[in-house]
C-alpha cells in the first residue's frame, strides 16, 4: 500500500480553463438535447452577437477608433481568436471577402459534436465585421465541430452573386 497523498499533491486534469470549456460543452449539449440543434443554435447566436458587440467595443477603444478598417478587422478576427487560444490565420482577404483557416479551436476537443458552439464564432465574426464594414455573411465551410481536422470560414463583405450562392448567416450594421 502506497503512502497516502493529499488531494493538493496529486496530478488531476482539472483547471479553470478545462472547467470552463467543460461547462460550455455541457451547457450546449444540454441545450441541443432539450430544444434541438436549430433552437440551440439560435440561443448561442444571440450570445455570440452580444460577445461580438463587447469585443468590437473593446478593440475600438483600445485602438482609439470609432470604426475599424478592413485591415484592422482582419487583424482583430485573428487576434481575438489567438487571445482565447484559437489558431486562426488569414488565408486571403480582399474587398469582397476574408477567408480564414483554423487548426485549433478555442474550445479544444470539447467542440467536437457541438456544432452549435460554432455559432459563437459566426456571430462574433459577423457582428464585428458588419458593425465596422456595414455587412457580413459568414459561411462555415468546414468545422472541427463537425469532424473536419480544421476550420475553413469565409466572411463575405458584400452581397453579390457569389455570396448569394453560399449558405451562411448575414449580419448588418446596427
Amino acid at each position: 500500500m502506497g503512502i497516502e497523498k493529499k488531494p493538493s499533491e496529486i496530478d488531476v486534469p482539472i483547471d479553470r480553463d478545462i472547467f470552463l470549456r467543460n461547462l460550455l460543452r455541457d451547457l450546449s449539449g444540454t441545450l441541443e438535447t432539450v430544444v434541438g440543434i436549430d433552437d440551440a443554435a439560435g440561443f448561442i447566436s444571440l450570445v455570440g452577437q452580444h460577445l461580438g458587440d463587447w469585443m468590437n467595443e473593446e478593440y475600438r477603444k483600445a485602438l482609439g477608433q470609432d470604426s475599424l478598417s478592413l485591415e484592422q478587422v482582419k487583424d482583430v478576427l485573428v487576434d481575438l481568436k489567438k487571445r482565447i487560444q484559437g489558431d486562426f490565420h488569414i488565408e486571403s482577404a480582399d474587398d469582397q471577402k476574408i477567408i480564414l483557416g483554423n487548426k485549433h479551436c478555442p474550445f479544444g476537443d470539447k467542440v467536437i459534436d457541438r456544432p452549435t458552439l460554432c455559432m459563437m464564432t459566426s456571430n462574433v465574426f459577423g457582428t464585428i465585421t458588419a458593425e465596422n464594414l456595414g455587412y457580413a455573411k459568414v459561411c462555415l465551410d468546414k468545422t472541427i465541430a463537425t469532424g473536419s481536422s480544421c476550420c475553413h470560414i469565409t466572411v463575405f463583405l458584400q452581397q453579390d452573386d457569389e455570396s448569394d450562392c453560399k449558405e451562411g448567416r448575414e449580419y448588418f450594421q446596427s
Partner: protein
C-alpha cells in the same frame, strides 16, 4: 403589392407575423399575430410592442437591435404578457431583419410567432422529471440506509447469538456461517462459502453412525421448517464430534418464493451427557450398577397393578447377605463395597430376561420375577442361593464364605400396595434369617403373627413406646458455609432401647413400613421448635434443619402445627430449614408444592435432600420452591477418586447455582473431599470432617 397587401395574403398562414419598425412600432400584422397580441379583431398598427411585454425598454431595445442585424431568425428574449403557462404552452417568437431591396429604404423587422410548446416547456418537463427523480433517489437512499442498518443489526445478532447459523442457497450451497457455526464445523465462513452443505455440515446418527438426511434439502422440498433428527452428531473438520439439536427453515423472498435455507443448531453434547448420567443415576445404584430402590419400587407398583386385575402374578424376592455387617464393620467399608459389587455380579449372572434385580440399600437386594409356577420359583430361589455357595470373597489375603437369606412373597390380587409386598418379603426374609444362614422362606399369612414377638415387630413396639414416653433423643450435626460464617444444624434422631441408643437406620425403615413416620416427624418437629424458641429467647438463636418424610408432607396436622407455630413466632421463621427428599417431593409434587409455597410465605426455607439419586430432573428443581439443594452423599464420598462422581457434583452445583439455589454437600469425611468441594464452588458442607452429630447444640 405593398407590404400590407402581402400581410393580408399571409392571413392563411399558421404562424403569426408582425412587421415592426426598428423602434418597435407595429406596422402590419396578420390574423394569427393579432391573436397573439390578444385581440384578433384589431390591427394593432401604430402601437409599440413594448405594450405587449413585461420587459423593460432596455431589454426590448436590445432584442430589436439583435433582430435588426441578422437575417437569420433569432429567439426573442422577451417576456410576453400572458404567455407561457405552467403547462409550457405559449408563443415562441423569433425576430429577423427584413431588408428591402435597394438598401435605401428604412429597415423593417419581422417577428414570427408560433403557438405551441415553448422552448421553456422542455425545460419545465425536464425540471419536473429531475425533481421526480430527485425525490425517488432520496427515497431510495433512505431505504438503502435503513436496509444497511437492518443488515448491520442482523449481522451483529448472528455474530452474537449462541447458536450456530448456516445459510445456503436453494441448491444447498453455503453462503454464510456465523462464528459459532465456524467453531462447531471447523470451517471458516469464507472457505465454506460456495461449498455444498454436506461437505461442511457432516452429520450422522449417533447410534447407527450412518449419515442423516440433509435437513436443508428436506425443508426446501417440504417447504416448511424441519427439525433435525434425534441423535444427530455433527463431525467437525478436525474429526471432533458434537451432539446437536435444532432446525432448518426455508428462506423466502418478497414473492414467497424459496431462495435458500437457514440452518440453526446448537451443541447439546454436555447437556446430553449430563442428562444421560442423570437418567442413569435415577435408575441405578452407583456402587453396583444394578437398578436402584426407586426404580425397583416403580416396577413393583406396576406389577401390583397388573396382578390386581387377577390374570397375572409375580414373585418378589428380598435377599439379605448373612455376613455383610461383620465384614463391613471389621474389615472396612471398602471391603464391604467390594463384596456388594462382587455379589451383584453373581446375582446378575442368574437373572432371567424380564426379571428385575435391584440393590435396595445396604446389603439388601430385591428381585421381581415374572409369573412362573411355584415349582420353578423354588428352583430359582435355590439357584440364587447356590450362586453364592461357590463364591468366596477374598480381601487382604483373607477368604470369607458368603451366603444369603431370601424372603419371598407372591404378588397376586391380594396385595394392595408395594409397601405391603415389601413388608411380606421382609418378614419372610426375617424368618429365613432366624432359621440360620443360607435359608429361604416363602411368606404365608400366619408368618405375620409368628414374627410379632421377634425383630421388626419388637422394634415397632419400641417406636410406639418411644413416642409415648419421649424416648427419642435429638442430635445435631453442623452444616457450615464455605462462603461465610453461617452454620445450620441438621436435627437427627436417636431412639433409646434399654441401654442401647439406636441410630435412625435401625428403626426409621421399619417405622416407614409400619406407617409411623408422621408420628415421628411430629415428635421431632414439636421438640425441635421448642429448642428453637428457647435458643432465641436465650439470645443465642440457632438455625435448625429438620427432615420431613414424604408421608408427612401431605399430613394436615403437621402443616397446621408449623403454620400455627410460625404465626405466633414469625421472628423464628428465618431460623428453620425443612429438608425433604427429592423422591418424596417429586413423588407427590402437588402436595409438596402446596405445602412448600404456604410455609415459604411464612419465611421458612426448604432444602431438597439426597439430590441426584431419585428423579434427578433439573426441571423439578426449577419448579419446586427450594432454597437449598443437598447433593446425595454417595457422590460426595467418591469425589476425589471417581471422575463420574466429580462430574455429577460439578454439574449439579453449576446448574443449581445458576438457578439461584444454595448447594450443600454431605458426607464430607476428610480434607481431600473438602478441598475438592471448595474448588467446585459448593456453598455449604456437612460430614464427620466438619462436625459429628452431637446431643449438644
Amino acid at each position: 403589392m405593398n407590404l400590407e397587401d402581402f400581410f393580408q395574403l399571409s392571413n392563411s398562414l399558421p404562424e403569426g407575423y408582425l412587421l415592426l419598425k426598428t423602434d418597435g412600432t407595429i406596422l402590419v400584422t396578420n390574423r394569427k399575430a393579432r391573436r397573439f397580441l390578444g385581440n384578433a379583431d384589431v390591427n394593432h398598427a401604430g402601437k409599440n410592442i413594448i405594450d405587449y411585454t413585461d420587459s423593460t425598454a432596455n431589454e426590448l431595445h436590445k432584442a430589436i437591435s439583435d433582430w435588426s442585424r441578422s437575417r437569420t431568425p433569432i429567439p426573442a428574449a422577451i417576456k410576453w404578457k400572458n404567455n407561457a403557462k405552467n403547462d409550457g404552452m405559449g408563443w415562441r417568437c423569433h425576430g429577423f431583419l427584413l431588408k428591402p431591396a435597394g438598401g435605401k429604404e428604412p429597415a423593417y423587422i419581422v417577428l414570427r410567432c408560433t403557438f405551441g410548446k415553448t422552448l421553456a416547456s422542455n425545460f419545465i418537463s425536464l425540471n419536473n422529471e429531475l425533481n421526480k427523480q430527485r425525490v425517488l433517489l432520496r427515497k431510495l437512499l433512505k431505504s438503502r440506509d435503513e436496509l444497511e442498518r437492518e443488515h448491520e443489526k442482523a449481522v451483529v445478532t448472528l455474530h452474537s447469538i449462541g447458536d450456530g447459523v448456516i445459510t445456503t442457497d436453494i441448491a444447498g450451497n453455503i453462503e454464510y456461517l456465523n462464528p459459532v457455526a465456524e467453531k462447531l464445523t471447523g470451517w471458516d465462513s469464507d472457505d465454506a462459502a460456495g461449498k455444498n452443505l454436506l461437505d461442511v455440515f457432516n452429520i450422522i446418527n449417533e447410534i447407527t453412525r450412518e449419515p442423516t438426511e440433509n435437513p436443508v434439502a428436506r425443508c426446501v422440498k417440504d417447504n416448511r421448517v424441519v427439525g433435525l433428527a434425534n441423535h444427530t452428531v455433527l463431525i467437525s473438520r478436525n474429526g471432533q464430534e458434537y451432539v446437536i439439536e435444532d432446525s432448518a427453515a426455508p428462506i423466502r423472498n418478497h414473492f414467497n418464493k424459496i431462495i435458500g435455507a437457514v440452518l440453526v443448531f446448537h451443541d447439546t453434547t454436555d447437556d446430553r451427557l449430563a442428562r444421560h448420567q442423570l437418567e442413569y443415576l435415577a435408575q441405578h445404584d452407583t456402587l453396583t450398577g444394578l437398578k436402584n430402590r426407586h426404580f425397583f419400587e416403580q416396577q413393583l407398583k406396576h406389577a401390583i397393578d397388573v396382578a390386581s386385575r387377577g390374570n397375572r402374578y409375580y414373585y418378589l424376592l428380598y435377599i439379605d447377605l448373612d455376613q455383610f455387617k461383620v465384614i463391613n464393620d471389621t474389615v472396612g467399608h471398602a471391603a464391604g463395597d467390594e463384596l456388594l459389587t462382587e455379589v451383584s455380579f453373581c446375582f446378575s449372572n442368574r437373572i432371567r430376561q424380564g426379571d428385575i434385580l435391584a440393590r435396595l440399600g445396604g446389603d439388601e437386594f430385591g428381585i421381581l420375577i415374572d409369573c412362573i409356577d411355584l415349582g420353578n420359583f423354588e428352583k430359582i430361589i435355590s439357584g440364587y442361593q447356590s450362586a453364592l455357595e461357590g463364591f468366596r470373597f477374598t480381601w487382604d489375603n483373607h477368604t470369607y464364605d458368603i451366603s444369603c437369606s431370601i424372603g419371598s412373597t407372591i404378588i397376586d390380587n391380594n396385595i394392595s400396595s408395594s409397601a405391603e409386598a415389601m413388608r411380606r418379603a421382609d418378614i419372610a426374609c426375617y424368618i429365613a434369617k432366624q432359621s440360620g444362614r443360607n435359608q429361604a422362606h416363602i411368606y404365608h399369612e400366619e408368618d405375620q403373627s409368628a414374627v410379632a414377638s421377634m425383630g421388626e415387630i419388637s422394634i415397632v413396639s419400641d417406636i410406639r413406646a418411644a413416642l409415648a414416653h419421649d424416648l427419642f433423643l435429638l442430635y445435631f450435626q453442623p452444616i457450615k458455609s464455605l462462603k461465610n460464617d453461617e452454620v445450620i444444624h441438621e436435627v437427627l434422631i436417636r431412639m433409646q432401647k434399654g441401654d442401647d441408643l439406636l441410630t435412625p437406620g435401625a428403626f426409621l425403615p421399619i417405622a416407614e413400613r409400619h406407617n409411623l413416620m408422621t408420628e415421628i416427624d411430629k415428635w421431632v418437629l414439636k421438640h425441635a421448635l421448642q429448642i428453637l424458641l428457647e435458643q432465641y429467647n436465650n439470645g443465642t438463636p440457632q438455625r435448625l434443619s429438620i427432615n420431613l418424610s414424604g408421608v408427612t408432607l401431605g399430613n394436615e396436622d403437621t402443616s397446621e402445627l408449623l403454620k400455627t407455630f410460625f404465626k405466633n413466632h414469625p421472628e423464628l421463621a428465618p431460623y428453620l430449614l425443612l429438608e425433604i427428599t427429592e423422591t418424596s417431593a417429586v413423588g407427590q409434587l402437588d402436595v409438596a408444592s402446596k405445602l412448600m409455597y404456604e410455609l415459604r410465605s411464612l419465611g421458612i426455607r426448604f432444602a431438597l435432600d439426597d439430590f441426584g439419586t431419585g428423579f434427578s430432573s433439573f426441571t423439578y428443581l426449577k419448579h419446586l420452591p427450594v432454597d437449598f439443594v443437598k447433593i446425595d452423599g454417595t457422590f460426595v464420598r467418591g469425589i476425589v477418586d471417581d471422575p463420574v462422581d466429580q462430574a455429577m457434583v460439578r454439574s449439579i452445583t453449576h446448574i443449581s447455582n445458576s438457578l439461584g439455589k444454595i448447594i450443600i454437600a454431605e458426607f464430607v469425611e476428610n480434607e481431600d473431599i473438602l478441598e475438592e468441594l471448595k474448588k467446585i464452588g459448593v456453598d455449604m458442607v456437612q460430614g464427620y470432617h466438619i462436625g459429628r452429630p452431637s446431643p449438644d447444640l
